[in-house]
């Protein structure tokens, strides 16, 4: 049976001709960027928000290799925080960590990927992966 691709949540991410992007929002008064999107600014309570896409290169802020099972994942798997130039840190899984050692500060890219599979569903979400040397050019 073919599993139905289902996003983890609506309104988190998109994939268009420009590639993968996270759906964030910026407060037009104080400039704070929020991911996931907020209808109201959490810093100043105003509702004057604009949509922002987080995409392109981000940097690895910190990471860990998890060696115990959690609800949806078998160990070992990598998770961490990345920092986008917009000043937002985002938490997520790290893809491709087995292939090259992770290092704080390394360039990372956003990818859309399968998080886990259920009986009839394939749960899709975002992950981050180290940018290879070739990609940086």
């Amino acid at each position: 049976m073919k599993r139905q691709k289902t996003p983890l949540r609506e309104g988190l991410f998109t994939q268009d001709v420009g590639g993968a992007a996270l759906l964030a929002s910026r407060c037009n008064i104080c400039g704070q960027v929020f991911f996931p999107r907020r209808e109201r600014c959490l810093d100043c309570p105003n509702q004057d928000m604009e949509s922002v896409l987080l995409r392109g290169t981000c940097r690895l802020y910190t990471f860990t290799i998890v060696n115990m099972p959690t609800e949806h994942y078998d160990p070992p798997y990598a998770i961490g925080w990345v920092e986008f130039p917009e000043g937002v840190r985002v938490f997520g899984q790290i893809k491709g960590w087995e292939k090259q050692p992770l290092k704080i500060g390394m360039n990372m890219e956003l990818v859309i990927d399968t998080l886990w599979e259920e009986e009839d569903k394939e749960i899709i979400g975002y992950k981050f992966g180290p940018l290879s040397e070739d990609d940086k050019r």
């Binding site: 704070q32 910190t62 990471f63 959690t70 998770i79 840190r89 938490f91 997520g92 704080i104």
Partner: protein, 381 residues
């Protein structure tokens, strides 16, 4: 607000005790506190009970075992900060003049809880939880930042666990009475890199209790009342405002406010019980509580300053790592431990001449927040 004193404390021995009911452990701790305070159960006017997994009306179930009925009882959940939250509730109601004599009891049976032998899971629908986050991972992520920014070494973190397991050997209430070496700790099973098993607090069952009253009547009950000089409880700020994940901004903020309320500074603290859920946590709390500068936690443990005989002894009880961590009982147990030290009754683990003590707990994880809650109490003799 009135000055409030602790007139009695009590505790069960901590451990893996699946055969013990929550109400048995709770009532044992309450009886111990009642006897310690030399107060009649009939004099208790109200009670707070903290439990996370102990079920509904837990406080009422415990009090029926000790001849207390018909009074106001509040049951509190605030994750690992629950015990401190309940303690603060009793302090608050007495300080404000609502009641004179109050009881706090914290109790947990982790081994019979739905999460026995498992991690505390993130709430369903928690975005970070769905992405694979868990409690040790959260702290491993901060630990790696601390190593990156300050150059703190794995050995320095391991020394926290060595120290606390040593202290646990001296504490009759402690879950573990086993010395550990740096090598054993670093070579134990990897949990979330770089956190290994013996850098993590265990699953623990146990209960602790305390009785409080206004300082004006405290000497009727005890020659050694202990004054509550500061009580601070705050939720965490948005993670977007988190300065650096190497440290807890919430702990730093609560510490500043607690010192201001108590009219003292970190240099005045003689003994500290802090929330060492992981070895990393204690080392970063040294810095947040002001016992050393940011990035100097590694040096502080290297020179032995936080040992029982050091400049600022931390977790003489063995802490969460060795005394154990019955989630909602921990905050009350920390208070009891500080009281024993300030009364010069802590036996082999006694911090000589302790006059001022600080208890610090943190609790809960919420996606989008730095941390759930933090509570700090400063006690003086």
């Amino acid at each position: 607000m009135r000055d409030v004193a602790i007139i009695g404390v009590g505790s069960t021995v901590f451990g893996k005790l699946p055969e013990r009911l929550v109400r048995d452990m709770g009532s044992e701790a309450v009886w111990a506190a009642i006897n310690d305070a030399n107060v009649s159960p009939k004099e208790i006017e109200f009670a707070y009970c903290s439990t996370t997994f102990g079920g509904a009306v837990c406080g009422e179930r415990i009090l029926t075992e000790v001849g207390i009925s018909g009074i106001e009882v509040v049951n509190v959940e605030n994750a690992c900060a629950g015990g401190a939250t309940a303690f603060r509730g009793v302090w608050n109601a007495i300080a404000s003049g609502l009641y004179d004599i109050g009881l706090v009891v914290g109790v947990e049976s982790m081994t019979t809880s739905p999460i026995a032998r498992k991690l505390i899971p993130p709430e369903a629908g928690d975005l970070a939880g769905d992405m694979g986050n868990n409690m040790p991972a959260h702290f491993a992520l901060s630990m790696r930042r601390h190593m990156e920014i300050y150059g703190t070494t794995l050995e320095q973190f391991a020394k926290v666990s060595v120290k606390n397991h040593h202290n646990g050997c001296l504490n009759p209430y402690s879950q573990y009475k086993k010395e550990l070496s740096i090598e054993e700790i670093l070579n134990s099973r990897m949990i979330c890199d770089p956190i290994t098993l013996l850098q993590c607090c265990p699953n623990t069952d146990g209960a602790a209790a305390a009785i409080l009253c206004p300082i004006s009547i405290a000497r009727k009950y005890t020659p050694k009342p202990i004054i509550v000089a500061a009580s601070i409880l705050k939720m965490g700020d948005y993670a977007s405002r988190w300065e650096d994940m190497a440290s807890s901004d919430l702990s730093s903020r609560c510490a500043r406010e607690a010192y201001e309320m108590a009219g003292c500074g970190p240099e005045d603290i003689d003994v500290c019980e802090c929330h060492d859920a992981f070895a990393y946590s204690e080392l970063s709390h040294y810095e947040e509580l002001g016992f050393c500068g940011y990035g100097e936690g590694g040096q502080l443990i290297d020179v032995g300053a936080t040992e029982i005989t050091g400049r600022i002894p931390v977790n003489p009880s063995g802490g969460l790592l060795s005394r154990g961590h019955p989630v909602s009982a921990t905050g009350v147990e920390q208070v009891a431990e500080i009281v024993w030290h300030l009364r010069d009754e802590a036996g082999k683990r006694q911090v000589a001449g302790a006059r001022v003590g600080l208890a610090h707990t943190m609790g809960g994880e919420v996606a989008g927040l730095e941390a759930g809650a933090c509570a700090i109490h400063i006690l003086k003799r």
